[in-house]
Protein backbone atom coordinates (compact mmCIF):
# COMPACT_ATOMS: atom_id res chain seq x y z
CA UNK A 1 0.00 0.00 0.00
CA UNK A 2 1.26 3.47 -0.93
CA UNK A 3 1.64 5.46 2.27
CA UNK A 4 1.41 8.96 0.87
CA UNK A 5 4.05 11.65 0.64
CA UNK A 6 4.15 14.73 2.85
CA UNK A 7 7.21 16.35 1.33
CA UNK A 8 5.70 18.35 -1.56
CA UNK A 9 3.24 20.05 0.82
CA UNK A 10 5.89 20.55 3.52
CA UNK A 11 8.30 22.04 1.00
CA UNK A 12 5.68 24.44 -0.38
CA UNK A 13 4.47 25.65 3.01
CA UNK A 14 7.79 25.88 4.82
CA UNK A 15 9.45 27.24 1.67
CA UNK A 16 7.09 30.16 1.30
CA UNK A 17 6.95 30.94 5.04
CA UNK A 18 10.69 30.76 5.65
CA UNK A 19 11.58 32.51 2.42
CA UNK A 20 9.12 35.33 3.16
CA UNK A 21 10.68 35.63 6.60
CA UNK A 22 14.19 35.62 5.15
CA UNK A 23 13.38 38.40 2.68
CA UNK A 24 11.83 40.42 5.52
CA UNK A 25 14.97 40.00 7.62
CA UNK A 26 17.24 40.98 4.76
CA UNK A 27 15.21 44.14 4.09
CA UNK A 28 15.68 45.50 7.61
CA UNK A 29 18.50 46.90 9.72
CA UNK A 30 18.72 47.00 13.50
CA UNK A 31 17.67 50.67 13.41
CA UNK A 32 14.31 49.62 11.98
CA UNK A 33 13.67 47.36 14.95
CA UNK A 34 14.59 50.11 17.36
CA UNK A 35 12.20 52.44 15.56
CA UNK A 36 9.43 49.82 15.58
CA UNK A 37 9.73 48.98 19.27
CA UNK A 38 9.49 52.66 20.24
CA UNK A 39 6.69 53.39 17.78
CA UNK A 40 3.65 54.40 19.84
CA UNK A 41 1.24 53.58 17.00
CA UNK A 42 2.60 50.05 16.70
CA UNK A 43 2.54 49.41 20.45
CA UNK A 44 -1.03 50.65 20.75
CA UNK A 45 -2.02 48.55 17.75
CA UNK A 46 -0.39 45.51 19.37
CA UNK A 47 -2.32 46.14 22.59
CA UNK A 48 -5.72 46.56 20.98
CA UNK A 49 -5.13 43.60 18.62
CA UNK A 50 -4.23 41.38 21.58
CA UNK A 51 -7.39 42.51 23.36
CA UNK A 52 -9.60 41.67 20.35
CA UNK A 53 -7.82 38.37 19.65
CA UNK A 54 -7.80 37.12 23.26
CA UNK A 55 -11.44 38.02 23.99
CA UNK A 56 -12.67 36.50 20.69
CA UNK A 57 -10.60 33.35 21.14
CA UNK A 58 -11.56 32.71 24.75
CA UNK A 59 -15.27 33.30 24.16
CA UNK A 60 -15.30 31.22 20.95
CA UNK A 61 -13.50 28.37 22.75
CA UNK A 62 -15.81 28.31 25.77
CA UNK A 63 -19.05 28.60 23.79
CA UNK A 64 -17.77 26.19 21.11
CA UNK A 65 -16.79 23.46 23.56
CA UNK A 66 -20.02 23.81 25.57
CA UNK A 67 -22.07 23.52 22.37
CA UNK A 68 -19.99 20.51 21.31
CA UNK A 69 -20.76 18.84 24.66
CA UNK A 70 -24.47 19.63 24.42
CA UNK A 71 -25.01 18.86 20.74
CA UNK A 72 -22.51 16.07 20.05
CA UNK A 73 -25.18 13.38 19.89
CA UNK A 74 -27.95 15.39 18.25
CA UNK A 75 -28.78 16.34 14.70
CA UNK A 76 -28.52 20.02 15.60
CA UNK A 77 -24.82 19.85 14.78
CA UNK A 78 -25.84 20.26 11.13
CA UNK A 79 -27.28 23.70 11.91
CA UNK A 80 -23.89 24.99 12.96
CA UNK A 81 -22.46 23.89 9.62
CA UNK A 82 -24.40 26.65 7.90
CA UNK A 83 -22.08 29.51 9.01
CA UNK A 84 -19.21 27.50 7.49
CA UNK A 85 -20.62 28.43 4.07
CA UNK A 86 -20.32 32.15 4.88
CA UNK A 87 -16.91 33.66 4.00
CA UNK A 88 -15.39 36.07 6.54
CA UNK A 89 -16.18 38.98 4.22
CA UNK A 90 -19.83 37.93 4.19
CA UNK A 91 -19.87 37.78 7.99
CA UNK A 92 -18.54 41.35 8.06
CA UNK A 93 -21.47 42.36 5.87
CA UNK A 94 -23.88 40.83 8.40
CA UNK A 95 -22.34 43.09 11.05
CA UNK A 96 -22.70 46.14 8.79
CA UNK A 97 -26.29 45.16 8.02
CA UNK A 98 -27.52 44.59 11.56
CA UNK A 99 -25.23 46.54 13.86
CA UNK A 100 -24.76 49.80 11.94
CA UNK A 101 -27.36 51.75 13.92
CA UNK A 102 -26.74 50.09 17.26
CA UNK A 103 -24.84 52.42 19.63
CA UNK A 104 -22.11 50.66 21.64
CA UNK A 105 -21.62 47.48 19.58
CA UNK A 106 -21.91 49.02 16.11
CA UNK A 107 -19.07 49.14 13.54
CA UNK A 108 -16.42 51.86 13.73
CA UNK A 109 -16.40 52.00 17.54
CA UNK A 110 -13.09 52.13 19.37
CA UNK A 111 -14.08 49.17 21.56
CA UNK A 112 -14.07 46.81 18.51
CA UNK A 113 -17.15 44.95 19.81
CA UNK A 114 -18.54 44.53 16.29
CA UNK A 115 -15.26 42.91 15.19
CA UNK A 116 -15.35 40.53 18.16
CA UNK A 117 -19.00 39.62 17.47
CA UNK A 118 -18.22 38.94 13.81
CA UNK A 119 -15.34 36.65 14.78
CA UNK A 120 -17.59 34.84 17.25
CA UNK A 121 -20.13 34.25 14.48
CA UNK A 122 -17.45 32.59 12.35
CA UNK A 123 -15.21 30.97 14.97
CA UNK A 124 -17.74 29.33 17.32
CA UNK A 125 -18.72 26.91 14.52
CA UNK A 126 -15.00 26.44 13.76
CA UNK A 127 -14.24 25.46 17.37
CA UNK A 128 -17.37 23.32 17.43
CA UNK A 129 -16.33 21.23 14.43
CA UNK A 130 -12.66 21.18 15.47
CA UNK A 131 -13.54 19.67 18.86
CA UNK A 132 -16.57 17.58 17.87
CA UNK A 133 -14.56 14.43 17.03
CA UNK A 134 -12.65 14.73 20.33
CA UNK A 135 -15.84 15.24 22.34
CA UNK A 136 -17.51 12.29 20.61
CA UNK A 137 -14.59 10.06 21.54
CA UNK A 138 -14.68 10.99 25.25
CA UNK A 139 -15.24 7.81 27.21
CA UNK A 140 -17.92 8.18 29.88
CA UNK A 141 -16.43 5.20 31.75
CA UNK A 142 -13.62 7.49 32.95
CA UNK A 143 -16.30 9.65 34.54
CA UNK A 144 -17.80 6.58 36.24
CA UNK A 145 -14.37 5.45 37.38
CA UNK A 146 -13.80 8.87 38.93
CA UNK A 147 -17.15 8.61 40.69
CA UNK A 148 -16.24 5.17 42.03
CA UNK A 149 -12.91 6.44 43.31
CA UNK A 150 -14.73 9.28 45.04
CA UNK A 151 -12.94 12.12 43.27
CA UNK A 152 -14.20 15.66 43.72
CA UNK A 153 -16.24 17.02 40.75
CA UNK A 154 -13.35 19.25 39.67
CA UNK A 155 -10.79 16.45 39.65
CA UNK A 156 -13.29 14.10 38.04
CA UNK A 157 -13.84 16.61 35.25
CA UNK A 158 -10.10 17.03 34.77
CA UNK A 159 -9.23 13.32 34.64
CA UNK A 160 -12.25 12.23 32.58
CA UNK A 161 -12.50 15.12 30.14
CA UNK A 162 -10.01 17.90 30.74
CA UNK A 163 -6.85 16.01 29.88
CA UNK A 164 -8.28 14.86 26.54
CA UNK A 165 -9.65 18.27 25.63
CA UNK A 166 -6.70 20.39 26.70
CA UNK A 167 -4.30 19.83 23.78
CA UNK A 168 -6.92 20.11 20.98
CA UNK A 169 -8.34 23.20 22.69
CA UNK A 170 -4.93 24.84 22.93
CA UNK A 171 -4.34 24.02 19.28
CA UNK A 172 -7.63 25.60 18.26
CA UNK A 173 -6.88 28.59 20.50
CA UNK A 174 -3.51 29.12 18.88
CA UNK A 175 -4.91 28.92 15.35
CA UNK A 176 -7.62 31.45 16.21
CA UNK A 177 -5.25 33.75 18.06
CA UNK A 178 -2.75 33.92 15.20
CA UNK A 179 -5.52 34.32 12.66
CA UNK A 180 -7.37 37.12 14.46
CA UNK A 181 -4.22 38.94 15.52
CA UNK A 182 -3.15 39.55 11.91
CA UNK A 183 -6.35 39.37 9.88
CA UNK A 184 -7.06 42.25 7.55
CA UNK A 185 -10.55 42.07 6.05
CA UNK A 186 -12.87 42.23 9.06
CA UNK A 187 -11.05 44.94 11.09
CA UNK A 188 -10.46 46.99 7.93
CA UNK A 189 -14.21 47.04 7.28
CA UNK A 190 -15.50 47.34 10.84
CA UNK A 191 -12.63 48.95 12.78
CA UNK A 192 -11.62 52.53 13.45
CA UNK A 193 -8.79 54.55 11.91
CA UNK A 194 -6.99 54.78 15.25
CA UNK A 195 -5.88 52.50 16.82
CA UNK A 196 -5.82 50.08 13.89
CA UNK A 197 -5.40 46.34 14.33
CA UNK A 198 -1.98 44.90 13.40
CA UNK A 199 -2.96 43.43 10.03
CA UNK A 200 -4.54 46.67 8.89
CA UNK A 201 -1.68 48.79 10.20
CA UNK A 202 0.98 46.65 8.51
CA UNK A 203 -0.90 46.41 5.23
CA UNK A 204 -1.51 50.16 5.07
CA UNK A 205 2.10 50.85 5.98
CA UNK A 206 3.27 48.58 3.17
CA UNK A 207 0.84 49.65 0.46
CA UNK A 208 -0.11 53.26 1.20
CA UNK A 209 2.91 54.79 2.89
CA UNK A 210 5.93 55.93 0.95
CA UNK A 211 8.87 53.58 0.42
CA UNK A 212 10.67 54.81 3.54
CA UNK A 213 7.92 53.21 5.66
CA UNK A 214 8.38 49.76 4.13
CA UNK A 215 11.28 48.60 6.32
CA UNK A 216 9.01 49.19 9.31
CA UNK A 217 6.43 46.82 7.81
CA UNK A 218 9.16 44.22 7.23
CA UNK A 219 10.46 44.66 10.79
CA UNK A 220 6.90 44.13 12.01
CA UNK A 221 6.59 40.86 10.12
CA UNK A 222 9.90 39.60 11.60
CA UNK A 223 9.10 40.63 15.18
CA UNK A 224 5.56 39.26 15.15
CA UNK A 225 6.50 36.00 13.44
CA UNK A 226 9.32 35.52 15.92
CA UNK A 227 7.09 36.32 18.89
CA UNK A 228 4.40 33.92 17.80
CA UNK A 229 7.00 31.25 17.16
CA UNK A 230 8.32 31.54 20.71
CA UNK A 231 4.78 31.27 22.05
CA UNK A 232 4.25 28.14 19.94
CA UNK A 233 7.45 26.51 21.22
CA UNK A 234 6.50 27.37 24.79
CA UNK A 235 3.06 25.87 24.34
CA UNK A 236 4.24 22.62 22.74
CA UNK A 237 6.97 22.34 25.36
CA UNK A 238 4.45 22.69 28.17
CA UNK A 239 1.89 20.29 26.75
CA UNK A 240 4.23 17.62 25.35
CA UNK A 241 4.50 15.60 28.60
CA UNK A 242 0.71 15.48 28.81
CA UNK A 243 0.30 14.63 25.12
CA UNK A 244 2.74 11.73 25.28
CA UNK A 245 1.12 10.47 28.48
CA UNK A 246 -2.29 10.42 26.81
CA UNK A 247 -1.12 8.71 23.63
CA UNK A 248 0.85 6.13 25.62
CA UNK A 249 -2.16 5.47 27.83
CA UNK A 250 -4.22 4.78 24.74
CA UNK A 251 -1.88 2.56 22.83
CA UNK A 252 -1.13 0.23 25.71
Amino acid sequence: MWRGNAYPAALLMAGMVLYGLWVSISMTTSADYRELLTDEVFLESLAVSSYVAIISTVLALIIGVVLARLLSRTRLAALLAIPLFIPHLGAAYLAILYLSDVPVIGPHEGNYFSVILTYLYKEIPFVFFYLLPVVRRLDSRYQELGMMLGLSPVRRFWHARGVFLLVPMLEAAFILLAFILFAYEIPALLGVTYPKLLGVYAFDLYTQGDLSEQPLAFAMSVVLTGGLFLLLLLMTGLTRPLATKISRGRSE
Binding site: A9, G199, S221
Partner: protein, 249 residues
Protein backbone atom coordinates in the same frame (compact mmCIF):
# COMPACT_ATOMS: atom_id res chain seq x y z
CA UNK B 1 -35.53 18.74 27.44
CA UNK B 2 -35.79 22.42 28.39
CA UNK B 3 -32.04 22.68 28.02
CA UNK B 4 -32.10 21.20 24.56
CA UNK B 5 -34.83 23.58 23.42
CA UNK B 6 -33.03 26.64 24.77
CA UNK B 7 -29.77 25.60 23.09
CA UNK B 8 -31.62 25.13 19.81
CA UNK B 9 -33.23 28.55 20.11
CA UNK B 10 -29.83 30.08 20.89
CA UNK B 11 -28.16 28.51 17.87
CA UNK B 12 -30.99 29.28 15.46
CA UNK B 13 -31.40 32.87 16.65
CA UNK B 14 -27.74 33.79 16.56
CA UNK B 15 -26.46 31.80 13.60
CA UNK B 16 -29.33 31.15 11.21
CA UNK B 17 -31.82 34.01 11.59
CA UNK B 18 -29.29 36.75 10.60
CA UNK B 19 -29.05 35.18 7.15
CA UNK B 20 -32.68 36.11 6.42
CA UNK B 21 -31.62 39.71 5.89
CA UNK B 22 -29.62 38.65 2.84
CA UNK B 23 -32.67 37.56 0.84
CA UNK B 24 -33.04 40.22 -1.85
CA UNK B 25 -36.27 42.01 -2.69
CA UNK B 26 -35.38 42.16 -6.35
CA UNK B 27 -32.46 40.72 -8.24
CA UNK B 28 -30.06 43.14 -9.91
CA UNK B 29 -26.96 42.62 -12.02
CA UNK B 30 -23.72 44.49 -11.58
CA UNK B 31 -21.47 44.18 -14.64
CA UNK B 32 -18.32 45.07 -12.67
CA UNK B 33 -18.99 42.20 -10.30
CA UNK B 34 -19.78 39.67 -12.98
CA UNK B 35 -16.62 40.61 -14.88
CA UNK B 36 -14.62 39.13 -11.99
CA UNK B 37 -16.46 35.80 -12.03
CA UNK B 38 -14.26 34.19 -14.71
CA UNK B 39 -11.04 34.79 -12.77
CA UNK B 40 -12.71 33.92 -9.47
CA UNK B 41 -14.09 30.58 -10.65
CA UNK B 42 -10.82 29.68 -12.40
CA UNK B 43 -8.83 30.56 -9.27
CA UNK B 44 -11.14 28.59 -6.99
CA UNK B 45 -10.92 25.54 -9.27
CA UNK B 46 -7.12 25.76 -9.41
CA UNK B 47 -6.69 26.27 -5.65
CA UNK B 48 -9.14 23.45 -4.88
CA UNK B 49 -7.42 21.02 -7.25
CA UNK B 50 -3.93 21.76 -5.91
CA UNK B 51 -5.24 21.44 -2.35
CA UNK B 52 -6.71 18.02 -3.12
CA UNK B 53 -3.49 16.90 -4.80
CA UNK B 54 -1.00 17.99 -2.13
CA UNK B 55 -3.41 17.52 0.76
CA UNK B 56 -4.29 13.96 -0.18
CA UNK B 57 -0.65 12.86 -0.38
CA UNK B 58 0.36 14.65 2.80
CA UNK B 59 -2.71 13.66 4.82
CA UNK B 60 -2.19 10.00 3.98
CA UNK B 61 1.48 10.21 4.91
CA UNK B 62 0.78 11.87 8.25
CA UNK B 63 -1.94 9.35 9.06
CA UNK B 64 0.03 6.20 8.18
CA UNK B 65 3.75 6.94 8.47
CA UNK B 66 5.61 6.97 11.75
CA UNK B 67 8.92 8.44 12.80
CA UNK B 68 10.57 11.72 13.39
CA UNK B 69 10.70 12.89 9.77
CA UNK B 70 6.96 12.76 9.26
CA UNK B 71 6.37 14.67 12.51
CA UNK B 72 8.70 17.40 11.26
CA UNK B 73 6.91 17.48 7.91
CA UNK B 74 3.58 17.76 9.76
CA UNK B 75 4.91 20.69 11.76
CA UNK B 76 6.25 22.44 8.64
CA UNK B 77 2.92 22.04 6.87
CA UNK B 78 1.04 23.61 9.78
CA UNK B 79 3.44 26.60 9.95
CA UNK B 80 1.16 29.01 8.01
CA UNK B 81 -1.53 28.53 10.68
CA UNK B 82 0.75 29.94 13.34
CA UNK B 83 2.48 32.82 11.56
CA UNK B 84 1.18 36.10 10.09
CA UNK B 85 0.80 35.02 6.45
CA UNK B 86 -0.20 38.49 5.23
CA UNK B 87 2.91 40.07 6.74
CA UNK B 88 5.19 37.41 5.27
CA UNK B 89 3.61 37.92 1.86
CA UNK B 90 5.25 41.38 1.76
CA UNK B 91 8.57 39.58 1.43
CA UNK B 92 7.17 37.02 -0.99
CA UNK B 93 5.87 39.81 -3.22
CA UNK B 94 9.41 41.14 -3.73
CA UNK B 95 10.54 37.66 -4.72
CA UNK B 96 7.55 37.16 -6.99
CA UNK B 97 8.53 40.36 -8.82
CA UNK B 98 11.97 38.91 -9.48
CA UNK B 99 10.53 35.57 -10.59
CA UNK B 100 7.95 37.27 -12.82
CA UNK B 101 5.08 35.87 -10.73
CA UNK B 102 3.84 39.17 -9.28
CA UNK B 103 0.50 40.43 -10.62
CA UNK B 104 0.01 37.03 -12.26
CA UNK B 105 -2.64 34.35 -11.82
CA UNK B 106 -0.05 31.73 -10.91
CA UNK B 107 1.63 33.95 -8.32
CA UNK B 108 -1.69 34.55 -6.54
CA UNK B 109 -2.49 30.83 -6.82
CA UNK B 110 0.72 29.87 -5.00
CA UNK B 111 0.17 32.37 -2.18
CA UNK B 112 -3.45 31.27 -1.75
CA UNK B 113 -2.15 27.82 -0.83
CA UNK B 114 -0.77 29.30 2.40
CA UNK B 115 -4.12 29.97 4.11
CA UNK B 116 -5.77 26.82 2.68
CA UNK B 117 -3.39 23.84 2.48
CA UNK B 118 -2.70 23.44 6.24
CA UNK B 119 -6.45 22.99 6.87
CA UNK B 120 -6.76 20.61 3.92
CA UNK B 121 -3.94 18.42 5.21
CA UNK B 122 -5.61 18.28 8.65
CA UNK B 123 -8.92 17.25 7.13
CA UNK B 124 -7.28 14.54 5.03
CA UNK B 125 -5.26 13.29 8.02
CA UNK B 126 -8.45 12.95 10.05
CA UNK B 127 -10.22 11.32 7.13
CA UNK B 128 -7.52 8.70 6.63
CA UNK B 129 -7.23 8.07 10.37
CA UNK B 130 -10.98 7.50 10.60
CA UNK B 131 -10.78 5.08 7.66
CA UNK B 132 -7.93 3.22 9.34
CA UNK B 133 -4.94 1.32 8.05
CA UNK B 134 -6.64 -2.07 8.32
CA UNK B 135 -9.50 -0.96 6.12
CA UNK B 136 -7.10 0.29 3.44
CA UNK B 137 -5.11 -2.94 3.54
CA UNK B 138 -8.32 -4.90 3.25
CA UNK B 139 -9.16 -2.90 0.15
CA UNK B 140 -5.82 -3.81 -1.41
CA UNK B 141 -6.77 -7.48 -1.00
CA UNK B 142 -10.20 -6.95 -2.55
CA UNK B 143 -9.06 -4.98 -5.59
CA UNK B 144 -5.53 -5.12 -6.96
CA UNK B 145 -5.74 -2.39 -9.58
CA UNK B 146 -5.07 0.89 -7.78
CA UNK B 147 -7.21 3.04 -10.12
CA UNK B 148 -10.17 0.70 -9.88
CA UNK B 149 -9.65 0.49 -6.14
CA UNK B 150 -9.78 4.26 -5.81
CA UNK B 151 -12.85 4.56 -8.00
CA UNK B 152 -14.84 1.83 -6.28
CA UNK B 153 -13.65 1.97 -2.68
CA UNK B 154 -11.30 4.69 -1.45
CA UNK B 155 -12.94 7.64 -3.23
CA UNK B 156 -16.52 6.94 -2.12
CA UNK B 157 -15.36 6.19 1.44
CA UNK B 158 -13.51 9.52 1.65
CA UNK B 159 -16.54 11.37 0.33
CA UNK B 160 -17.17 13.55 3.39
CA UNK B 161 -13.50 14.54 3.60
CA UNK B 162 -13.37 15.47 -0.08
CA UNK B 163 -16.52 17.54 0.29
CA UNK B 164 -15.32 19.39 3.39
CA UNK B 165 -12.01 20.21 1.73
CA UNK B 166 -13.68 21.73 -1.31
CA UNK B 167 -16.07 23.77 0.85
CA UNK B 168 -13.40 25.09 3.20
CA UNK B 169 -10.95 25.96 0.43
CA UNK B 170 -13.65 27.72 -1.59
CA UNK B 171 -14.81 29.79 1.37
CA UNK B 172 -11.28 30.81 2.40
CA UNK B 173 -10.17 31.60 -1.16
CA UNK B 174 -13.16 33.76 -2.00
CA UNK B 175 -12.75 35.80 1.18
CA UNK B 176 -9.12 36.89 0.61
CA UNK B 177 -8.90 40.58 -0.16
CA UNK B 178 -5.51 41.71 1.17
CA UNK B 179 -3.47 38.81 -0.25
CA UNK B 180 -5.11 39.02 -3.69
CA UNK B 181 -4.85 42.83 -3.82
CA UNK B 182 -1.19 42.70 -2.82
CA UNK B 183 0.14 39.77 -4.85
CA UNK B 184 -2.27 40.28 -7.75
CA UNK B 185 -1.49 43.99 -7.84
CA UNK B 186 -5.08 44.80 -8.80
CA UNK B 187 -4.56 43.00 -12.10
CA UNK B 188 -5.74 39.57 -10.99
CA UNK B 189 -9.30 40.65 -10.30
CA UNK B 190 -11.07 38.26 -7.99
CA UNK B 191 -14.54 38.96 -6.65
CA UNK B 192 -13.25 40.14 -3.25
CA UNK B 193 -11.67 43.16 -4.99
CA UNK B 194 -15.17 44.32 -5.95
CA UNK B 195 -16.89 43.22 -2.75
CA UNK B 196 -14.56 45.04 -0.38
CA UNK B 197 -15.10 48.56 -1.79
CA UNK B 198 -18.85 47.85 -2.06
CA UNK B 199 -18.95 47.35 1.73
CA UNK B 200 -17.15 50.60 2.45
CA UNK B 201 -19.42 52.45 0.01
CA UNK B 202 -22.92 53.76 0.60
CA UNK B 203 -24.95 51.58 -1.73
CA UNK B 204 -26.85 48.97 0.28
CA UNK B 205 -27.98 47.30 -2.93
CA UNK B 206 -24.46 46.81 -4.29
CA UNK B 207 -23.22 45.44 -0.96
CA UNK B 208 -26.09 42.97 -0.70
CA UNK B 209 -25.61 41.75 -4.27
CA UNK B 210 -21.90 41.30 -3.64
CA UNK B 211 -22.62 39.25 -0.51
CA UNK B 212 -25.05 37.04 -2.39
CA UNK B 213 -22.34 36.15 -4.89
CA UNK B 214 -19.86 35.66 -2.07
CA UNK B 215 -22.11 33.11 -0.35
CA UNK B 216 -23.67 31.78 -3.55
CA UNK B 217 -20.44 30.65 -5.18
CA UNK B 218 -19.37 28.28 -2.34
CA UNK B 219 -22.92 26.87 -2.28
CA UNK B 220 -22.83 26.34 -6.06
CA UNK B 221 -19.45 24.60 -5.83
CA UNK B 222 -20.69 22.43 -2.99
CA UNK B 223 -23.89 21.55 -4.84
CA UNK B 224 -21.97 20.79 -8.04
CA UNK B 225 -19.71 18.48 -6.13
CA UNK B 226 -22.67 16.78 -4.43
CA UNK B 227 -24.18 16.04 -7.86
CA UNK B 228 -20.87 14.56 -9.08
CA UNK B 229 -20.61 12.40 -5.97
CA UNK B 230 -24.14 11.05 -6.11
CA UNK B 231 -23.79 10.08 -9.77
CA UNK B 232 -20.38 8.56 -9.04
CA UNK B 233 -21.84 6.45 -6.28
CA UNK B 234 -24.80 5.48 -8.46
CA UNK B 235 -22.38 4.26 -11.15
CA UNK B 236 -20.37 2.31 -8.57
CA UNK B 237 -23.54 0.66 -7.26
CA UNK B 238 -24.73 -0.27 -10.73
CA UNK B 239 -21.33 -1.72 -11.64
CA UNK B 240 -21.32 -3.77 -8.47
CA UNK B 241 -24.72 -5.08 -9.60
CA UNK B 242 -26.38 -4.16 -6.33
CA UNK B 243 -25.02 -7.27 -4.67
CA UNK B 244 -22.93 -5.18 -2.26
CA UNK B 245 -25.63 -2.63 -1.66
CA UNK B 246 -26.80 -2.66 1.91
CA UNK B 247 -28.33 0.80 2.22
CA UNK B 248 -31.25 0.71 -0.20
CA UNK B 249 -32.92 -2.47 0.96
Amino acid sequence: MMKKISVTVFVVLLFIVPLIGLIPGEWNWNPRLEATLGTTVAMICAVVLLNHLFGYMAGKAIAFQTGKRIRIAEFLISLPLFVPVLLLSFGLYLTWIRLGLADRFFGVLLVLLLPTLPYTVRLYTNGFQALGERMLEQMVLIEGNRFKRWFYLTGPMLRSTLQSVTLLVTVITISQYALVALIGGGIVRMISLEVFPAYSGNSQGAARLATLWLIGLPILFYAGQAVIFSSWIRIVRRRLNGSHDTTSQ
